[in-house]
Symmetry: C2
Subunit: 320 residues, 2 copies
């Protein structure tokens, strides 16, 4: 208990609550002399954690933003909140940080006390995510298990359901997890097939790290995303074409950036031409939320879906 490193960690933890701490109070809490507290503050500063101090009668210490992230000391509830937030985001994550998001989740879940784990699962079950992709929902557990195996360089076993529905058992050396905004892919070396393969994560079932380590092979093509190239290009995408009866600024403020920006076509009208790999349901929803009159020109499946959805909604209310 009375160990120096332990006290430093405790001190960091205390300073992380957003308030000012007078040195005397810290000394009392940590059961050391004020002189030692001053030395500890010095030590933290040497370690790169910027502790700000205000002098004078109402002064105190406070941890502020610095050059590097200090270790985050979370209480139980905060840890649960972060885990739930990241899990909710793992499915239809924010553009550009999907990989980091999963890494952070894997890191957190690795050390999350088990009594908190079931709370996270319960809370997450209560939220039904809006599927942004085509309904192929991804289990956060699968994602973190794969991510963990990849960074830990452990061989991975899982069941894989191919496009035609046939289920196979795979054992691979996971290389990298990549996200395309809409879908997750695992690039890995398939041991039995003695070649590199890409797997769609939503088709992976029961991933299990065998625990046996491996030394990463060199990718033949150079980079993981390159290997994904031809898989990606086969992805179905829609050429969206919609006109809105509202200014372009109004529309773009209500549409996600991933759909691109509409161009002004006249007084109070604009047109959106975009290539999207998002699901039609998602696109239709976003269009409906723009809250102005619009006209869908294509693609035909989207026209069909919007027509059907509109008809269903009209049927859903009593005729006047």
């Amino acid at each position: 208990m009375t160990d120096t490193p332990a006290r430093l960690l405790n001190l960091l933890s205390l300073l992380q609550t957003p308030r000012e701490w007078p040195g005397s109070e810290l000394a009392e809490r940590l059961e050391v002399s004020p002189r030692t507290i001053r030395r500890d503050i010095d030590r933290l500063r040497d370690l790169g954690y910027p502790v700000e101090a205000t002098k004078g009668a109402v002064g105190g210490y406070r941890l502020v933003a610095g050059a590097a992230m200090p270790p985050l000391l979370l209480d139980d509830e905060e840890a649960v909140a972060i885990a739930v937030g990241l899990r909710a985001g793992a499915g239809h994550a924010i553009e550009g940080i999907e990989e980091a998001s999963v890494r952070a989740l894997a890191k957190l879940e690795q050390v999350l006390p088990s009594r908190l784990r079931h709370r996270v699962i319960t809370l997450q079950a209560a939220t039904i995510p809006l599927t942004r992709g085509d309904g192929a929902r991804i289990d956060p557990h699968t994602l973190t298990a794969i991510a963990g195996a990849a960074t830990g360089q452990e061989r991975l076993r899982f069941g894989y359901r191919a496009g035609d529905g046939t289920e196979t058992k795979r054992q691979v050396e996971p290389y990298r997890l990549v996200s395309t905004g809409r879908r997750w892919y695992l690039v890995a070396y398939d041991i039995a097939r003695e070649d590199w393969r890409t797997f769609r994560v939503d088709r992976v079932s029961e991933p299990f790290a065998t625990g046996s380590r491996f030394v990463p092979r060199e990718l033949p093509t150079g980079s993981a995303t390159e290997l994904l190239g031809h898989t990606m290009s086969r992805q179905p995408a829609h050429n969206i074409d919609v006109t809105f009866e509202a200014p372009a600024a109004f529309v773009s403020a209500r549409l996600p950036d991933t759909l691109g920006a509409p161009e002004t076509t006249g007084e109070g009208t604009c047109r959106l031409r975009a290539r999207s790999t998002d699901s039609l349901e998602w696109v239709a929803l976003r269009l409906a939320l723009v809250d102005c009159e619009f006209m869908v020109h294509g693609p035909p499946p989207l026209v069909q879906y919007v027509t059907d959805l509109g008809a269903r909604l009209v049927r859903a209310t009593p005729v006047r």
Copy 2:
């Protein structure tokens, strides 16, 4: 650099990557003898962090889940991912952990390096949240500023726009931030008015912690939520009444728990009666996503909205 506590923090950071670390590798990285590493591992265990070790030829150390959360050591990208995730969740957060979520965000943003801060803001701006409430979007910055002032016991100055649109300047002693799932409220002691007040956070502008500390007063009514009671009861709520042409299990699996569960009314039909404070737009959206025929009986505004939305969608496609 050659400090013992610094090395321990580094060690914790290394062990947090989900992989196994042989003692020799750790020794090399931290530039100490393997014996010292073993001692450090011992120290970490004494501190309560469960370091698991596997013996044998391919053994190594690894941090596992224990009784308490160890300090999370995040790299830049992971920190950004968490911040963005929490911010996105702050608006329409997950039931039951809103407060903890905001606390975690406040803690993180307090120490987030400024070069990461603008990345967070940029990324967040790219995502347009589906407003679950009635469009009164809440600025995460406002939320964290208030939360920080409340836990730090600092006086707070802000502009407040009353229901009739008049803007007033307030200076308060913030007591607690409470969330009702749909809305955020600040319970505080208004210094000028010398009484307790509740403020809607979405009407607060430019919160600013003055830095002057105060000793928390006793709440006259006992608890913050109690004080909120009469404010809350004036909240508009809708009595939703919808029948679905699908089994209750099918429907409840596609509806959020907050709307309650539908009851079976016949062979393949069910009825949902719920009281909701969510916005009509949100409810209509969720209903449309159930993906089956349904009929909205009430409330009248919801019927109207669904009719209008359906009509707009029908108009949005070329007539055949």
